[in-house]
C-alpha cells in the first residue's frame, strides 16, 4: 500500500473535531436550504443534505435535475440564491485543503500544453500557497498518485493524447494528490472504458476505507446499488437521501424521474439487481 492518501493523524483529529456550536462532532458536509437560480428559473430548490460519516454517496436524478449545479453551488462555483454549506463545521474558505473537486472531463481544453504528470502536480498547488513552486515531496506524491490510478507509464504523455478513460484517471490522480478528506466528483464514470470504470470504483472504495468521503454525480442507475453506500435522489428538489438499501426504491425513483417509462424500467432492473446482491 502506498503512503498516498493515508489520512494524516492531523486530519483524523479534525474529523472528530467538535463544531463551533459545541453540540457534537461537526458533519463532514452540511448543506442547508441551498437554492440556485439561473436568471429567474430555479434549478435547485431548498436542497438539504447532511453527511455525517465517511461514505460513498451517489447523486442521481434525471438530466437537468441540478446535480452538477448542486455540486458547483456547494463549492462556490455558481452563485447561490440562498442557503448555507459547511465542511467539517466551517465554511469552504477555511477548509479548502480538505475539499477536493473532480470536474467533468469536458470542462477543460485537453490541447493545453501539459503532461499527465504536470496535471497531477497541480493537485499539490493548493498546499503550496502563493509563489512557492512544487519541490521533491510534491513531485514524488504526483508520481505515486499516477501509479495509484495505473497511469505511471503515461506520465510524460501530453494529456490530449490520452483516451477518455485515461484522461479521467489523470483527473482522479490530481484530486488524490490534493489529499483531501471530502471529494466531489462530477460524472467520473461518464464515457469511460470498462477498465477505467473498475479503477475508479476500486479507488472510491479505498478512499472510503481510508476514512474519506466521496460524493459522486452518477448517471448509471444500474450500478448505484453496487457502487454506493448512500444515495441522493434529486430533481430540482431533494426527493430522498439515505442508505441505498432503504432509499433507492422504485417509489423514490418514480418520484425523481416522473413518468418516464424507459427510465423507470431501468430503475426497476436496478432495484431488483440491488436486492439480489444483498
Amino acid at each position: 500500500m502506498s503512503p498516498v492518501g493515508t489520512p494524516s493523524a492531523e486530519s483524523r483529529t479534525h474529523a472528530a473535531e467538535i463544531d463551533d456550536r459545541g453540540t457534537g462532532p461537526a458533519a463532514i458536509l452540511d448543506v442547508h436550504d441551498l437554492t440556485v437560480a439561473y436568471q429567474d428559473r430555479p434549478v435547485l430548490w431548498d436542497f438539504d443534505l447532511v453527511v455525517e460519516r465517511p461514505s460513498l454517496v451517489g447523486i442521481v436524478g434525471p438530466n437537468g435535475a441540478g446535480k452538477s449545479t448542486m455540486v458547483k453551488a456547494c463549492l462556490g462555483l455558481v452563485p447561490r440564491a440562498s442557503g448555507e454549506v459547511t465542511f467539517f463545521g466551517r465554511p469552504l474558505a477555511k477548509m479548502r485543503r480538505r475539499v477536493g473537486y473532480v470536474p467533468q472531463r469536458e470542462s477543460v481544453d485537453w490541447d493545453f500544453p501539459v503532461t499527465a504528470f504536470d496535471t497531477v502536480l497541480m493537485g499539490t498547488y493548493g498546499e503550496l500557497g502563493w509563489f512557492r513552486r512544487p519541490g521533491r515531496p510534491q513531485r514524488e506524491r504526483a508520481r505515486e498518485c499516477l501509479d495509484r490510478v495505473g497511469m505511471s507509464e503515461f506520465a510524460s504523455r501530453q494529456i490530449g493524447q490520452l483516451s477518455g478513460g485515461q484522461q479521467q484517471r489523470v483527473f482522479l490522480a490530481r484530486a488524490l494528490a490534493q489529499q483531501a478528506d471530502l471529494y466531489f466528483m462530477d460524472e467520473p464514470m461518464a464515457g469511460v472504458d470498462a477498465a477505467t470504470e473498475q479503477v475508479v470504483f476500486d479507488l472510491l472504495r479505498s478512499l472510503r476505507d481510508e476514512g474519506r468521503t466521496v460524493l459522486v454525480v452518477h448517471h448509471d442507475l444500474r450500478t448505484v446499488p453496487d457502487y454506493f453506500d448512500d444515495v441522493v435522489l434529486l430533481n430540482t428538489r431533494l426527493v430522498a437521501s439515505g442508505p441505498v438499501g432503504t432509499t433507492f426504491t422504485a417509489e423514490n425513483l418514480r418520484r425523481a424521474y416522473g413518468g418516464r417509462l424507459d427510465l423507470l424500467e431501468i430503475a426497476a432492473d436496478a432495484v431488483e439487481a440491488g436486492e439480489r446482491s444483498r
Partner: protein
C-alpha cells in the same frame, strides 16, 4: 546599406522586444481563450489616441498611450456589459465592440486630419503601424513593459498555469481566478497599447496570437511554450523589421507576415505539428503490434 543604419538598429531593438513581450503575454491570452478580447481592445484604442491628440495637440507618446489605454478599457467594459446584460454572445459582442470603436476612431482621425494635415502626420501611422514610428523614447516604454510582464509572469507562473488550464478546479483550490484574469487582462492591455505605434490596432492581435500558436508546434510543456513563444516573438519582430525596412513595406503587416511564415514552416517541420503527428499516426497503423502500447485505448 543604409537599411542597417544606427536608427534601423534601434528600431530593430524596439520591435524585437515588442515581439518578445507579445509572445509572452499572448501565450497566456491564447491559453486562457482571451485572444479576441485583445483584438477588441486593440481596435478600441483608436478613438482614445485621436482624442488624446486633440487634447494635447502633438504626438506625445505617453499622452497618446494613456488615451489609447483608457478607450481600450472602455471597449472592454462595453464588451463585459454586452455579455452580462444582453443576449449577445461572446463572438458577436467582440465584433460589435471592435467595429464600432474602430469606426469611431477613423471618424475622429478624419477630424484630426482636417485640423492640419502636417501636424497629424504621425497619427495615420497608428492605423497600420510603422517601425519608423518607433522613437527612442518609445523603446524605453516597450523595454519597461517587457520587464514588468516578465516579472509578473515569473512571480505568478504556477497560479496562471492552474487557472488557465482549469479555472473551476483552481477556484475550489482557493486561487482567485477572476483577479488573476484581471491581472492578465491588464498585461494584455498595456502590451497592446505600447505595440500600437509599431504594428497598429488592426494587426496587433495577430502578433499576440502567432508566437504561442507557433511555439505549440514545438513543445507540449507549459514552461517551454512560454519561453519559446518569447523567442519566436523576438525573431518575428527582427525579421519583420528587416524585411519592411529593406523593401520599404508597411511595417505592421510585414511583421505579421513574418510571424505567419514562421508558423507555416512550423506546421510542416515541427515535432508536434500536424504533419509530424499524422506521420506518427500512419507509422503506428502500419505496425499494429505496437498499437497496444502507444495507441489510444478505447475511451
Amino acid at each position: 546599406m543604409n537599411w542597417l543604419a544606427p536608427n534601423t538598429l534601434f528600431v530593430l531593438v524596439g520591435t524585437s522586444l515588442l515581439g518578445a513581450c507579445m509572445g509572452l503575454v499572448g501565450a497566456f491570452a491564447v491559453l486562457r481563450r482571451r485572444a479576441l478580447v485583445g483584438d477588441a481592445l486593440a481596435h478600441a484604442t483608436l478613438p482614445g489616441i485621436c482624442l488624446a491628440y486633440l487634447a494635447v495637440g502633438r504626438r506625445s507618446f505617453p499622452a497618446l498611450m494613456l488615451g489609447a489605454l483608457l478607450s481600450g478599457l472602455v471597449g472592454i467594459l462595453v464588451l463585459v456589459g454586452l455579455r452580462r446584460f444582453t443576449k449577445v454572445k461572446d463572438d458577436a459582442a467582440v465584433g460589435i465592440v471592435l467595429s464600432v470603436f474602430f469606426g469611431a476612431g477613423v471618424v475622429l482621425l478624419s477630424v484630426v486630419q482636417r485640423q492640419g494635415a502636417a501636424s497629424a502626420a504621425g497619427l495615420e501611422t497608428f492605423v497600420l503601424g510603422t517601425t519608423a514610428g518607433i522613437l527612442p523614447e518609445d523603446g524605453y516604454w516597450i523595454g519597461g513593459t517587457l520587464l514588468l510582464c516578465g516579472a509578473i509572469v515569473t512571480t505568478f507562473l504556477k497560479e496562471f498555469e492552474v487557472v488557465a488550464f482549469d479555472s473551476q478546479f483552481a477556484t475550489v483550490q482557493g486561487w482567485p481566478a477572476a483577479r488573476l484574469d484581471l491581472l492578465l487582462m491588464a498585461m494584455i492591455a498595456v502590451t497592446v497599447v505600447v505595440g500600437l505605434p509599431a504594428v497598429g490596432p488592426i494587426m496587433v492581435a495577430a502578433l499576440l496570437i502567432l508566437p504561442s500558436v507557433t511555439a505549440r508546434n514545438w513543445t507540449e510543456r507549459f514552461g517551454r511554450l512560454l519561453l519559446l513563444s518569447v523567442v519566436i516573438g523576438f525573431f518575428t519582430g527582427v525579421a519583420g523589421t528587416l524585411v519592411s525596412t529593406r523593401y520599404n513595406l508597411a511595417a505592421g503587416p510585414t511583421v505579421i507576415l513574418s510571424g505567419t511564415a514562421l508558423w507555416a514552416v512550423s506546421l510542416l517541420v515541427a515535432p508536434h505539428g500536424p504533419v509530424a503527428r499524422s506521420r506518427r499516426r500512419r507509422s503506428l497503423r502500419s505496425q499494429p503490434e505496437d498499437a497496444t502500447t502507444d495507441g489510444r485505448l478505447d475511451g
